[in-house]
Structure formats: structure tokens, C-alpha cells
């Protein structure tokens, strides 16, 4: 099996797990999680991120910060598949006694590098990590996933100025550019075009890709440019993988009804057994 065949299988599994997590939790930000499923699949299983699930604090690991913390079901699923914790944990998210909530928390969940949820925090946090690793001479890369709506936060642009100034070539930021935010299309709410040019003007090595094409994702994640941080604009579809969710804003935070559920199950390959306990 090639790397890409493998990550494609993984992405299919992660989408199933995302829905099962939401199903048992009774809700969650599925659209945002489906949107970045392919990115996280390639990052964790495409021979990109270096990590040790049995040693989460391994000093030389690469770091991944999910700045758009609401998409954490994708991260939890990837971490479970990588072996950080038993898959069973996913199906108690948001319940009393669980350490897993609707946004990831540092210290509580092995493999989580930062507590995120409030938007606009992960970039600066990631810059702090990348800067420290660089001055320590550590061969370690930091990846940060931002939402495109998240880029309406002013702090993102403080970080956008900072990382090129600090010449952090050990930092790669991926914007999950699904062009939707909670209430509408991005562009109807805040005019962000030309999006890539903004980052280019700020001094980033900008790569634009199809955020569901595993070859392109992998190529971009491994791209490096001396003394310049890399910014990947991953053009994605929010809700990717479930036809009635794709590109529809309401699926930012909604659960399927009785009519929609069989369609979702069919498309994701879920069985009745997967959804019963």
C-alpha cells in the first residue's frame, strides 16, 4: 500500500469516528472536522509528523497545534488511531468523567499541545514553540491549523507579522480554507480576498493546494524554505464527505435528523452497530 492509499483509508476511518464521536456526544462541530480530515490524515499518517504515542512528551517530536479547536473531533480521532489513547475515549466526549470536551485541553489529553477553542490563539502559541525549538537548535517542526474564519481575528495578523520577522522556517501554518463560517460564507461577512496575497505580502512562503488531495497535501506539508515560514492555503469543502453537509453553513453545528442520518451512514460507511452501544 502506498502512503497515499494508506492516508486515504485513514481519512475514511477518521470521518466515521468524527461522526460517531458527535453521535454519542449528542453534538459537535462536524462540518469543521470533516473539512480538515484529509489534512490531519496526511499529517499524522503520511510520514510527515514525527511523534511517539507511547512517549507524548518526546523532546524531539514535531508539534501540532489545532488553533481552530472546535474541529477537535478530527484531532481526537487521529490521536486515537495513532495510539495515544483507546478509541473508546472518543465515545464519552463531553460526558461527566471524560477528559475530552468540545475543545482540546493541554495536560488532559495525550498528544494535545495547547488548549484551544477561543479563536486567534494557536498561531502565536505555535510561534513560541517554533522559536524555542529554533534557538535550541532542535530539529523539530511545528504545524498549526487555522480556520479561514479565524483569520478575522486581529491576533492572527500579529502572528502573521511575527513569524516571518523571526525567520521561523520550522513553522508551517495550514489554513483550512473552506470559505464558510458559522453563519454564512466568509466573503459575505468579511471581505478577505485576495487571501493568499495577504499572507504573501506579510512575508510567508505561500502554497495553495486542494485540501482534499492527499498528494498535494503531503507535498505542501513537507515543503521548506530557508528562513521563511510556510503558509498552506488548503482549499477545502466544509462538511466534506457527507453530501448534504458539503458547503452548507448550518452544518457548522447541527446533528442530522432521522431522514438525513441514513444518507450520512451510507456515505460514510457506518453501520447500525457503529451507532449503537
Amino acid at each position: 500500500m502506498t502512503i497515499i492509499e494508506n492516508t486515504t483509508d485513514i481519512a475514511r476511518e477518521i470521518r466515521k469516528k468524527i461522526y460517531r464521536t458527535a453521535h454519542f456526544a449528542g453534538g459537535g462541530h462536524m462540518g469543521a472536522a470533516f473539512s480538515m480530515t484529509d489534512i490531519i490524515s496526511v499529517l499524522y499518517f503520511g510520514d510527515v509528523l514525527r511523534y511517539r504515542p507511547d512517549e507524548p512528551d518526546w523532546e524531539d517530536r514535531d508539534k501540532f497545534i489545532l488553533s481552530k479547536g472546535h474541529a477537535c473531533f478530527a484531532l481526537y480521532s487521529a490521536l486515537a488511531m495513532a495510539g495515544y489513547f483507546p478509541e473508546e475515549e472518543l465515545y464519552h466526549v463531553g460526558k461527566p468523567g471524560s477528559k475530552f470536551g468540545g475543545h482540546p485541553k493541554l495536560h488532559d489529553i495525550p498528544g494535545v499541545e495547547a488548549s484551544t477553542g477561543a479563536l486567534g490563539h494557536g498561531l502565536s502559541f505555535g510561534i513560541g514553540i517554533a522559536y524555542s525549538d529554533k534557538v535550541d537548535g532542535r530539529d523539530s517542526h511545528t504545524y498549526v491549523v487555522l480556520g479561514d474564519g479565524e483569520c478575522q481575528e486581529g491576533s492572527i495578523w500579529e502572528g502573521a507579522l511575527s513569524a516571518p520577522t523571526l525567520e521561523l522556517d520550522n513553522l508551517t501554518v495550514i489554513v483550512d480554507h473552506n470559505k464558510l463560517q458559522a453563519m454564512d460564507e466568509l466573503e459575505n461577512i468579511v471581505r478577505m480576498k485576495p487571501f493568499g496575497d495577504k499572507w504573501r505580502a506579510f512575508g510567508w512562503n505561500v502554497i495553495e493546494i486542494d485540501g482534499h488531495d492527499h498528494e498535494e497535501i503531503r507535498y505542501a506539508l513537507l515543503e521548506r524554505k530557508a528562513n521563511v515560514p510556510t503558509l498552506i492555503i488548503a482549499n477545502t469543502i466544509k462538511g466534506k464527505g457527507v453530501s448534504f453537509m458539503e458547503g452548507v453553513p448550518i452544518w457548522h453545528f447541527r446533528m442530522p435528523n432521522d431522514k438525513e442520518l441514513p444518507v450520512l451512514m451510507e456515505e460514510l460507511g457506518l453501520t447500525e452497530e457503529d451507532l449503537s452501544r
Binding site: 485541553k105 493541554l106 495536560h107 499541545e113 495547547a114 488548549s115 477553542g117 477561543a118 486567534g120 490563539h121 498561531l123 502565536s124 502559541f125 505555535g126 510561534i127 513560541g128 514553540i129 517554533a130 522559536y131 524555542s132 525549538d133 534557538v135 535550541d136 486581529g154 491576533s155 500579529e158 502572528g159 507579522l161 511575527s162 520577522t165
Partner: protein, 304 residues
């Protein structure tokens, strides 16, 4: 106070290569020696407080000990959510150093005054809040903040504060300093306004009124034992602070008083509004009803 802070930071940086001075383009010449001696442990991140605090948290997660410094008003208000989520929620070992405590940047006006910072910061879990009263105390508090594993907010003034200590003394986080013994009334203060309080207490000594003066340099965790002792031994307490009357020292002390259920004559002196008017620090304090004359009046009202 800033010079005393830099002296301590210089020593810490020499001792521990993980100590980093982060600044948000504020500090000017006071950082000259530090920058010369530790260029690799210094970052001016520009005018971006939120980014500075977020980045400090990332650095702390990699074992660095960032001292993030700028005007307290910009940290406590602009970067509050970053202090809450990135620093306190994750319990990162960061020292947040806010200059210009209270109205000390008197003529610069309310945008540059840290007069509501404690109201917000005092409520943050994991955060230790220290408001030193003099240059010597800033020096000791900076070393103590380094020695404390976890987030600390250090509220310091500028460079004109008088020294209130005659000689060396023990500083420890959470343990107030009784600057003056007395059994008629207790004055509890924080920051450089303690000098005004000591002056008033001195004057009133001539009238044979013996005032106890407590330097509550740590607002959180507060020294509740010293407050309880003051209640039982003096029965009268005045808190004085260069901070809004809501949410700061007076509020913290009244919380302890209320829970003791003991009768006590109690008065809080602090700002009722944003700082009004301009002038020297002393003039602005007078103009905003926390100057020496108002301390004296309140004192007399309560002692009668």
C-alpha cells in the same frame, strides 16, 4: 522600580539561559544593559501584546521562562484572554510584568493607567498577583516570581518611587509585611502608595494614634491571616489602593472580612471612576481622592 526589575532580570538571565525578556516595544533605555549582555535572551516583538503573551505561552511549553513586559494597561486589558487561556488555563510558567501601576503615568491619561487590571486578573485561576511597594521590593518580588513555578503578574510602577524599607527584610509570596505596628487602626495598602500611608501614619502618631500599616504586596493569594489579626487587634481597617474601588485590594480584603463575620469598622479608598485630570503623580492622586489628604480624612473619620 523599573531599574530594580531590570537588575533582578539581569541576574536571572545570567544564571538561567532559559530566562527570556520579551517586550512589546516598551522599555526604551532601561533595557540597554540587558540587551548588550543577553542579546540571545531578548525579543522585542513589536506592538502586539496578544501575540507576545500567546508566544510566551508557547515558549513556556518548551521550557523557557519568559518575562513578558509592557505597560500593565495594555497587558491586562488587550491581552486578557491570552493571559486567561494561554497562560493561566494551561498553567504556563510565565511572568507577566505590567509597568505603570495605577495612575503613575499620571499625565499620560487613563488609556495608560492600570486602574482596573486587578479586578480581572485577581479572578484568574493559577495566577499569582504581586504589587510591590518599592524598588527593593520589586527586586525581591522579581526573584521570587522566578522561583515560583507558574504564572505570575507583577504590577510595577515606573522609576520615581521612593524606597520604603530601611534595610533588608524577608519577602515571600502571599505573606504581607507589617511596616509599622499599631493597635488603634490598620491601614492596608499595596504598591507605591504605601509611602503616602506611612507618612500619614507618622503624622498621626503625634496625636497618639497608633496606626498599623500593612503592605499587602501579594493580592493573590492574599494574606488572610494578617487581615484577621488586624480585625481582632485593631477593629478598624482602611484599605488604600491606586486602583478602582471595585475588584482590587479593597474588594479582596472585604471578602476576607465578610467571611469572618466579625464586626469591624471598614473603609475602602480607591478610584471611583477613570482617573480625572493631569499633573504629577501626587497631584493626580489628590485629584482622584486617594492622595494623602484623603487618606488623613478617612483615617480621622474612622478613628472617631
Amino acid at each position: 522600580m523599573r531599574t530594580a526589575y531590570l537588575k533582578a532580570l539581569h541576574e536571572l538571565a545570567a544564571k538561567d539561559k532559559n530566562v527570556y525578556a520579551l517586550i512589546s516595544d516598551n522599555g526604551a533605555i532601561v533595557y540597554d544593559d540587558y540587551r548588550r549582555d543577553f542579546p540571545d535572551q531578548y525579543l522585542n516583538l513589536g506592538i502586539s501584546e496578544a501575540n507576545m503573551i500567546g508566544m510566551a505561552a508557547g515558549m513556556a511549553s518548551r521550557g523557557k521562562i519568559p518575562f513578558a513586559y509592557t505597560i500593565g494597561a495594555f497587558l491586562a486589558y488587550r491581552a486578557f484572554e491570552f493571559i486567561r487561556n494561554d497562560v493561566c488555563l494551561q498553567n504556563q510558567n510565565i511572568k507577566i510584568v505590567g509597568t505603570g501601576a495605577g495612575e503613575v503615568y499620571s499625565a499620560l491619561g487613563p488609556t495608560h493607567h492600570s486602574t482596573e487590571d486587578l479586578g480581572g486578573l485577581r479572578g484568574l485561576p493559577n495566577l499569582t498577583v504581586i504589587t510591590p511597594a518599592s524598588p527593593m521590593e520589586v527586586y525581591k518580588a522579581t526573584l521570587a516570581a522566578y522561583g515560583h513555578e507558574g504564572p505570575v503578574y507583577l504590577r510595577i510602577g515606573t522609576n520615581r518611587e521612593p524606597e520604603i524599607y530601611d534595610g533588608d527584610y524577608d519577602f515571600s509570596i502571599g505573606k504581607s509585611v507589617t511596616l509599622r505596628e499599631g493597635e488603634d487602626i490598620t491601614l492596608i495598602g499595596m504598591g507605591s502608595i504605601l509611602k503616602d500611608m506611612l507618612d500619614v501614619a507618622e503624622e498621626l502618631e503625634k496625636d497618639r494614634i497608633h496606626a498599623r500599616v500593612i503592605n499587602m504586596h501579594t493580592i493573590k493569594p492574599i494574606d488572610s491571616e494578617a487581615i484577621k489579626k488586624a480585625i481582632s487587634e485593631t477593629g478598624k481597617i482602611i484599605t488604600i489602593e491606586d486602583h478602582n474601588i471595585t475588584g482590587g485590594l479593597g474588594s479582596a480584603v472585604s471578602e476576607i472580612i465578610a467571611e469572618t463575620g466579625k464586626p469591624v469598622r471598614f473603609k475602602r479608598l480607591g478610584l471611583a471612576n477613570f482617573s480625572q485630570g493631569y499633573g504629577t503623580y501626587q497631584e493626580v492622586k489628590e485629584n482622584n481622592n486617594i492622595g494623602k489628604s484623603r487618606i488623613r480624612e478617612t483615617f480621622m473619620e474612622l478613628i472617631r
